[in-house]
Symmetry: C2
Subunit: 85 residues, 2 copies
DNA sequence: TTCGGATTATCCCAAAAAAGGATATTTCTT
DNA sequence: AAGAAATATCCTTTTTTGGGATAATCCGAA
């Protein structure tokens, strides 16, 4: 098992959350507040400087109004198929 | 956002992985080997002493022959409904 | 019950990662 | 270009992790 953080996969995963935030039109500040965390927390995980565990992921996705399960499914589905059709 | 580790939720989540391992009849040792990690790694996350990030969770579930998405869905579904109907 | 092996949990502690306020940098809007 | 808004980085103190070694627990057999 490779390290999760700093991997291309991890970036894809986080990208989903970033996209969700943009889609929701929410700022890091606002999201951070919802989560009861400093803005740097959001900046860090979005920047791939801090990893998110499953619960955090679910919590954040929910805070963004996104469906955590769908995001994970999307992530899993596109796993390892960088090439193929 | 509360700390994920040591939370009741986290235990439920991990419980899903432990159950999957038992169901698969795989030992910590064997799983660890598949993951390229020492047995203590498995013992620790199962014991709630180390957290798992999303990718690790997916990797482990897959190694156990379980569907990561289903596990997450199951987790999310039973979230916060300790009481109600 | 006692023995032995299998399985899982805990120790240790150096190394790595995280917290989070403060500050710097980048980006937008006008 | 200026000012504000948004995001990224710094810095220092805590907290967490890695993983081999060892301890504790479990379990079936005799």
């Amino acid at each position: 098992m490779q390290k999760s953080l700093r991997s291309a996969e991890y970036h894809r995963l986080i990208g989903l959350l970033v996209a969700a935030r943009h889609k929701a039109g929410i700022r890091q500040q606002a999201l951070a507040k919802k989560l009861g965390k400093p803005q740097s927390f959001v900046a860090k995980y979005e920047g791939g400087e801090r990893r998110l565990d499953v619960i955090e992921f679910v919590t954040i996705a929910s805070a963004l109004g996104a469906d955590p399960v769908k995001l994970i499914r999307q992530f899993v589905r596109t796993k390892g198929q960088t090439k193929s059709t």
